[in-house]
Amino acid sequence: MDLINPSPILHARKSARRRLEPCEVVDESARQPIDVLEVFEHLRDVTDPEHPYTLEQLNVVSEEHIDVSDAESYVRVQFTPTVQHCSMATLIGLCLRVKLMRALPPRFKVDISVAPGAHATEDAVNKQLADKERVAAALENPNLLSMVDRCLASADA
């Protein structure tokens, strides 16, 4: 199969600035609030579905495109597919959603979207990623779930 983007530009991995603490802290008042850095730590090492690189190396996710409010319990992530017509965009978005679903407390509202102008069918991709019913159905598809788990394995290590 031909690659959608045969020669992606690679970016250096930033040094890890903070170790992730387990998020299932029992005492909510004693824990550190969840911030941009923590969310980025969860996502940076997710592997691209097409290339053996991480989403950070491909600049698909970056700290600048993550918005977090612990007090208001929301996380917004915008991602930038490496090419405008990337057919993997929905799968990448699904990986990001699943990763945060597993990593963050369930009180968080997570919105995943393509960065404005970063994709030819941005609205369609965003609508699909925001539809919890479609996401739930997708994750019951064993083939799709194993693709997602493959991309997440590197970030779960």
């Binding site: 407390p105 369930p106 609508k127 925001a130 539809d131 159905a137």
Partner: protein
């Protein structure tokens, strides 16, 4: 059409939590009161349906009286009681709809409806109980004839929506079926004798919703309907007729009340209840009289549109999205059960 922006009146009623029913091990997608209000059915991503009843007759405490399982292999998205309360239809992502009935004191699966190509997302019985409608990710709406002996025959398959069909709802008169979709539209299907035909599509700027329409509910006599959407608005419709065909008109669009997608709507005796992704349950009621002075300055103006206001809301009704809000049967007063995400 009249636009109401969200302004919260200080004279609000309150919604009090009566009981939390625990048992499902994954997201609860839908709950429905039996027609007599003596049972509540709920369904979940855990692939089971639970039936909840009073612990003893007259008791205020509800508990799980039956678990319906192993008929369907994926998420069960929707439960629907037949009008006589004897049958329960359950729609699953495994592309089937199961029919359950109590036989010799135990719930038994009596039929399995196959035909949809992918996830079934909704099911609804016609008021006569003779027809069952189902809708699916495959963009189609199916109408089934309920025959004697638990036989179900496909009476019609309606194509028309260009994306998943999220819900089906019958008009109280039983001659109009309403479907809502990911394609942002609401379609009205009417009985044209030998088949059902699309009488009206409610969509487009100034009329239709701007994103996925999750559901529709009718008032008691079917003269008006309420629809809810991912566009965070609640729209109210006048359900008129023109030469027998349904002809709906937009009456009002309530925006600014919901902070996220609205997944569910029900129109009961106490008002219009909504369940939203912002974790809240809200109840809207119609103002008895128009606001003083409205329209008085222009004698030629059309009569004022009905005004709806937020009568009660329960923020953080659940720790996460409210997937379903359904008012009780008239006998049960105004209980509002609601499906939700699993607890943390």
């Amino acid at each position: 059409m009249h636009n109401h922006k969200g302004s919260i009146s200080t004279e609000q009623g309150s919604l009090e939590e009566v009981q939390v029913l625990e048992g499902h091990t994954d997201r609860v997608w839908c709950s429905a009161w039996s027609p007599l209000g003596d049972m509540l059915a709920s369904c979940s991503g855990d692939r089971t349906v639970r039936i909840w009843s009073r612990q003893q007759p007259g008791s205020d405490a509800w508990s799980c009286s039956a678990i319906l399982e192993e008929a369907q292999t994926r998420t069960i998205r929707c439960v629907a009681w037949s009008p006589n309360g004897r049958c329960l239809a359950t729609a699953s992502f495994d592309a089937t709809t199961a029919i359950w009935e109590v036989q010799a004191g135990a719930w038994e699966q009596v039929a399995l409806l196959e035909g949809h190509e992918s996830e079934v997302k909704g099911a609804a019985w016609a008021p006569s109980g003779m027809l069952l409608a189902t809708c699916s990710r495959d963009k189609s709406v199916w109408i089934w004839d309920a025959m004697p002996g638990h036989e179900y025959e496909c009476a019609d398959v309606k194509q028309g929506h260009t994306q998943d069909v999220k819900s089906v709802t019958w008009h109280p008169d039983g001659d109009v079926l309403v479907s809502t979709s990911y394609d942002d539209s609401i379609r009205l299907w009417s009985d044209a004798g030998d088949e059902w035909s699309c009488a009206q599509t409610l969509e487009g700027p100034g009329i239709g919703h701007e994103s996925t329409v999750w559901g529709v509910a009718f008032d008691r006599d079917g003269s008006r309907a309420a629809s809810v959407s991912d566009d965070r608005t609640l729209r109210l419709w006048r359900c008129g007729r023109d030469r027998g065909e349904p002809r709906w008109r937009l009456l009002a669009c309530l925006s600014g009340f919901h902070e996220r997608s609205i997944f569910s709507v029900d129109w009961g005796v106490s008002g219009i209840a909504t369940g939203s992704g912002d974790n809240a349950i809200r109840v809207f009621v119609e103002d008895a009289a128009p606001e003083p002075g409205r329209g008085a300055s222009d004698p030629g103006a059309a009569p004022p549109a009905p005004a709806f206001r937020l009568a009660a809301q329960r923020r953080s009704a659940h720790p996460s999205d409210v997937n379903c809000a359904s008012g009780g049967a008239p006998l049960q007063g105004n209980a509002v059960p609601h499906g939700s995400e699993p607890p943390g």
